[in-house]
């Protein structure tokens, strides 16, 4: 599938990373980083589902260690990646792996992260599409599509008119420019998800302001993951 999304020169010449595989190691680190950011804290429990080539050859590429390294907040060139399973154990993160089938349409290098900590729970699916570039495809069952390369604001809210206006109004107040916006929902009459990828840093006050609206279920700011 051709990728029309923006790709930087440093995605092609890069990332600087610990081997052995950009898709199975570096991309996996980044999926873990996004999972950690969406949960908002370091997971206490992580059930990691591996799909396709991730399940078939992931072990040899250190995909398991790489995903956990990302969950621990390590970057793609962190020499501790190879020891991440031990480090997770020391830090009290319980990790389990399973083989999953995310369907025919799922990219062969896909993972599902089911993360829990302090009463929070997140299920996130994403793919490592090559050269360390990732694409998040699902959050809490909502279809999404974002790369983690931008400041990203995720808002799950009641599906009602005017919500986008309010969010973009707040962004205008904080001089945050939206690069990409995607909206999705599971069905009519339920909650909807908005994913804003922005050119500018999303300030904490903006997130806090949104959390005060009664129609907002939850908000999360995912800072850009770069390598």
């Amino acid at each position: 599938m051709p990728h029309r999304r923006s790709i930087s020169a440093f995605d092609i010449i890069g990332p600087i990373m610990v081997g052995p595989s950009s898709s199975h190691t570096a991309g996996a680190v980044r999926l873990g980083q996004v999972g950690r950011a969406v949960l908002g804290v370091q997971p206490k429990e992580a059930l990691i589902g591996l799909h396709g080539s991730f399940a078939e050859t992931g072990r040899g590429h250190g995909t398991d260690r790489a995903l956990v390294a990302g969950l621990l907040g390590m970057d793609t060139h962190d020499p501790r990646i190879r020891d991440s399973l031990d480090i997770a154990r020391e830090k009290g993160m319980r990790v389990a792996f399973e083989k999953v089938d995310l369907g025919e349409d799922a990219h062969p290098n896909s993972a599902r992260l089911h993360l829990k900590a302090w009463g929070r729970e997140v299920v996130i699916e994403g793919a490592s599409v090559g050269g360390g570039v990732v694409e998040i495809t699902q959050i809490q069952g909502f279809p999404v599509r974002f790369s983690g390369k931008y400041d990203t604001l995720i808002v799950v809210a009641e599906d009602r008119p005017g919500t986008i206006n309010i969010v973009t109004g707040l962004m205008l107040d904080h001089r945050v420019n939206v690069a990409f916006l995607r909206v999705g929902r599971k069905q009519r009459g339920g909650d909807a998800i908005m994913v804003y990828e922005t050119d500018d840093h999303i300030p904490e006050e903006l997130v806090e302001a949104l959390e005060d609206f009664h129609w907002v279920r939850w908000v999360r700011h995912v800072p850009p993951i770069m390598g």
Partner: protein
Amino acid sequence: MIESIAEMVDLAENQGLPLHEIALRAEMQHSGRKREELRERMRERLETMRESVEHGLAEPVMSLSGLSGGNAHRLWNWLSEPGCEPITGPILSRAVARAMAVNEVNAGMGCIVATPTAGSAGILPGVLLTLQEMRGFSDEQLVDALFTAAGIGGVIFRRASVSGAAGGCQAETGSAAAMAAGAAVELLGGAPRQSAHAVAMTLKNMLGLVCDPVAGLVEIPCVKRNAAGAAQCFIAVDLALAGVESVIPADEVIDAMGAIGRRMDERFKETARGGLAATPTGRRLARLIWEEKRED
């Protein structure tokens, strides 16, 4: 966003600019960052490339699995023996040693620059650092070359794929070799159009190459496929500089690579279920490694 090699060449010819300048300007526009900041980031990558080459040549680097390693050092030592005359000549043989060095460091979970992927990370440093050694190019010229390579790789990423799991080894080492060829032609004084022909000819010669890593590890045959990628690159570079053209334009070759990759059987796309991975020896090694792991 540059969508085709033809567009890159047109932009370069119409403005009388080299390809690296087109690629750098596209990146400035895309990122909103300044020229010097982008060049500094690229210098950092060149430095990591150099470190990974030196590491892999200076000592035998073994992979984590123990399945492979030490061959870049072995080749380098042989090349350093007095009177050694490698059949491939001094330039290709040294590029091959450097390319293998990076991939051995990668298999040892050492630090490398994925160009465009980790499995194909040896080809660009192998080619560029050897041209620097043998032809005296400066670091700044190599940084230029990396931007050209990035521009070419970006087009391949958008039109086809650079992932072995999605498109086989042709998408990884094929893309890396094509990127290196386009960049090397420019470095050696070729016109933008000649770079495009080098991209096309390199990729043409690597179409259909499957991704069949033994035990699913980026080792066998990946390390030697990087050596082959450097050779394919240099063949196309000489052809292009001599004025030989590819009848099929680069963009169509890239599209063909993408189409072949999509239709390629899953067994040949990094699942370790076909090709060399499925040979008796491949299976035996896989059993050996994973049984040992379970005992750990």
